[in-house]
């Protein structure tokens, strides 16, 4: 459930009182994320609107859920990207399109991150919704 995953992230971040710890956690998430191989980081997977680069890849699984993989050349963005991917991953296109994404505001990332950075995340979410729309159309036509 997308909403449940968001709640978990919000609880996790409520734990950090200092900006430093919050960012250390995001950096840690960025380091842990598997990401994409150098061959996969091609321009056609680039998400527009980021100062740092974000690549996003999506596949429709046989069971009807979507698998996202992403990466960034900046580690903080990479950590934020990991959070976004974890929220949307392995959900159906319908669930993705229905979701109300609020966790970035709730953990103070949008207000805390520079406008350019949050615009990059917004662009990534937009791209995720686009993929979901396409996959849903595919499912209907099958």
């Amino acid at each position: 459930m997308i909403e449940q995953k968001q709640q978990e992230i919000i609880e996790e971040f409520a734990f950090f009182e200092e900006w430093m710890h919050k960012y250390e956690h995001i950096i840690e998430l960025g380091k842990e994320m598997k990401g994409l191989s150098d061959e996969e980081k091609k321009d056609d997977l680039l998400v527009a609107g980021c100062q740092s680069k974000v690549w996003l890849k999506a596949n429709l699984n046989e069971n009807g859920t979507v698998h996202f993989e992403a990466d960034s050349d900046a580690i903080i963005t990479r950590g934020l990207v990991a959070l976004v991917v974890s929220v949307f991953n392995h959900e159906t296109p319908q669930e993705i399109l229905n979701a109300n994404i609020h966790f970035m505001n709730d953990i103070g990332l949008v207000s805390n991150l520079s406008q350019t950075r949050s615009n990059g995340l917004a662009a990534m979410v937009k791209q995720i919704l686009l993929y979901a729309t396409v996959f849903q159309a595919q499912q209907k036509s099958n």
Partner: protein, 410 residues
Amino acid sequence: MDNVTLQHKMKELRNQFPTLNQTVNGRPLVYLDNAATTQKPQRVIDSITEYYTKWNANIHRGAHFLANASTEKFESTRTALAEMLHANFREEIIFTQGSTDSVNMLSTILENEVEEGDEIWVTEMEHHANFVPWQVLAEKKKAVFRYIPMTPSGEWDIDYAKKELGSKAKIVAFNYVSNALGTINPVEELVAIAKNAGAYVVIDGAQAVAHFDINVQALNCDFFLFSAHKMYGPTGLGILWGRKELLEKLPPYRYGGEMIRKVSVRGTTFNDLPFKYEAGTPNIEAVIAFNESISFCKEVGRADMHAHEYFLLKTATEQLKAIDGMTIYADLENKVGVLSFNMEGIHSADIGTLLDQQGIAVRTGHHCTQPLWEKLGTTGSVRASFACYNTPEDVELFIEALKKSVNMLR
């Protein structure tokens, strides 16, 4: 002036800048993004308030007390600018919306001067504002777009210009000081080469005017432009100086009110300089308030400002060099207070984000100079840039915050 006296003098200035006196993310603000825009002294802010409180009226038009008063104030900034730039005629000073607007105006009014096969020159170090308009003009006129390469040390390859820039060159446009690196360029040398070739010479002085005195006669260029907001002035105002005989000969840029002499259904005749190039209601309050910035720079003295900023630059540079994995771009002697760097294995955006958390304002990314970074084999940098009101304590806080950020990111 010895360094201690200079430090003292500059520290006093800080009180004139209200924006500096605040906390950001719970920390005292350390503003090191001065190459993007400088903060404004109280007298500039007061002047804007005063304009709207007392003098607001459209200039050059109504025959009433307020219109006359605001016109007089507006025009006295033009006079101050003519004096500041050592222009021969005050009508050579044209108010635009900024450096970007000035270059766009020039690339438009010079259009008919360029013929197929002519060359338009820039340098590899230009801000996009002084690059793209010329590139587009060259495409439009089937002219050849050429550039003077930059060396890995962040300087012009002036020998290339000596060899290659000849009589085919129609326009040569270049920056006085690099916004991305802080390099002070040998403009006199390039003006001589370009003039020898018979080209129009355009100098982008956006990054120069806050640091040293400008004499357009001595520079011997044809056009000189800059933005008020990088010289302790308001945003949305640009200055374009051009040689009178050229501005008289070239066509208008925009058409509308103020720039006409007579309009009838049979045709229109245009106004004299400078009004020919100032169509529509201008940014009146910015022009009036900018007079305060001009006086501010004159009273403080650009030589002292530059000496102080240079001292901060050198102090910061030495300390940065002690950090492992540091690359400093254009670590030259002849620079303004711009410090551009990268840390091995760390994205500039990450450093910018963590510095911001600690109240330090820097710029990260390509700084609108993508060809420059392509030459240096990367996509951008962290840029700290100093102004007269920055202090050695600012440098200390910046270095401390940078070390902390790097520790978190490694």
